[in-house]
Each structure stands twice: as structure tokens, then as C-alpha cells.
Amino acid sequence: MKIQIRTFGIAREICGGASIQVEMPEHATAGELKQHLTEQFPRLAALASFLVAVNEEFADTDTRIQAGDEVAIIPPVSGG
């Protein structure tokens, strides 16, 4: 399935756009997506951390992603 992923902050710069599309197997987990992203964008691995959000919630490693979900890469936050 194709997943549209929003990126923010340094992840937007690393991924080269505010939104990227990746191809993942059906029922892929957030953990598998993170691994895929790290391989495609090795500079993500150098971050202090990065998380995946699914439908505006932080996802656990085993959270399953459905086609059509709102998915985002969340690099270390620094608001305030």
C-alpha cells in the first residue's frame, strides 16, 4: 500500500519535502515503517530520536497502519 507521510522540522529537510510517499506491505506496523524510513533516509538514524504518529497519536512499534491513515514523522520536539 502507498502511505503518504507528513514530515516536520529537521525530518522535512532530511526527507526533502513536507510530504513523502512510501510503499509498504499491507498491515505494516509503525516499527516497520520506521525501519523502512531509516533505510531510505539514513540521516534520520542520526537524530536523538524520531517517532511515528498515526492519526495524530504517537504510535507504538506494533501499531498497525492502514491505507488512508494520517501518518507523520515526529523528530525530537522543541516547542516552548
Partner: protein
């Protein structure tokens, strides 16, 4: 449970936030104002650029506020966060908390800003004369 949340690229208004949380039964209001420092580790800051994953940031801010209401007897809580380009002296965030008694206001306000900095998807880039850096991005 009066919760007021905003993410805006317009300047934030301290008195407006205080007005939001002021209630007849409140005896104490604690307000935290996060401002842009003119220097980080001795380096002059030209500007800060904030961006937010707005819908999720509002959700996380609401979670913080709801947790504060569970933990302390507070009456109202406002979190306003700025986005866009800010310069030294500008206000990046305002958190205002009212309570009948001051301990709850202090505790909840500090909890809110501490947690916001850990969980709310907002990012800032510091721009110096000789470069720029996404804060906290790298170990």
C-alpha cells in the same frame, strides 16, 4: 474544566490569556511566558523559526490540560503557542492557570510547560549569523 488552546502565527497576548482563566472563585493565577533569548550558549540568535503539526499539537496540549485537571484542583488553563518567525524578545508560549489556591496553579503551570516541551509536536530552528540548528534534534 475550562481549557483554552491556541496555535497561532500572530503575536500572543498575555492579558488575553489571563482574562481567559480569570474566574470569580480563583485566588491565584500562575502565568509562564516563554520568550526568545538573544543568545544560546553565547551565540547571538538572529531569529527562531517555529513550526507545528497543528492538529496533533492541539491534541497533545489538550491531553496535558486534562492531566493537569486530574492531578490538581485547578479552575482554568490556557496554552497559547506561537509559530512562524520570532525574534529575540518575542513570546513563544504562554501558559496561564487559575486555581482557588496558589499551589495548584504553580504545580499545574510548571507541569504543563515541562510536558509541552517533551510531548507537543512543535519544533524550533535557531538561526545564528553563521548557521542554523533544529533545537534538540541531535544527541
Amino acid at each position: 474544566m475550562d481549557i483554552f488552546l491556541k496555535i497561532s502565527d500572530e503575536p500572543l497576548d498575555v492579558l488575553f490569556c489571563i482574562g481567559l482563566v480569570t474566574q470569580p472563585a480563583c485566588g491565584g493565577i500562575d502565568v509562564f511566558i516563554g520568550t526568545v533569548r538573544d543568545a544560546t550558549k553565547g551565540k547571538h540568535v538572529l531569529r527562531l523559526e517555529f513550526e507545528a503539526y497543528e492538529a496533533m499539537a492541539i491534541r497533545e496540549m489538550r491531553r496535558i490540560a486534562e492531566t493537569a485537571f486530574e492531578k490538581w484542583p485547578v479552575q482554568a488553563l490556557a496554552i497559547h503557542h506561537r509559530t512562524g518567525v520570532l525574534h529575540p524578545g518575542d513570546i513563544a508560549v504562554i501558559i496561564a492557570v487559575s486555581a482557588a489556591h496558589r499551589d495548584a496553579a504553580f504545580d499545574a503551570c510548571r507541569f504543563a510547560i515541562d510536558t509541552l516541551k517533551q510531548t507537543v509536536p512543535i519544533w524550533k530552528k535557531e538561526v545564528f549569523e553563521d548557521g542554523e540548528v533544529w533545537v534538540a534534534a541531535h544527541p
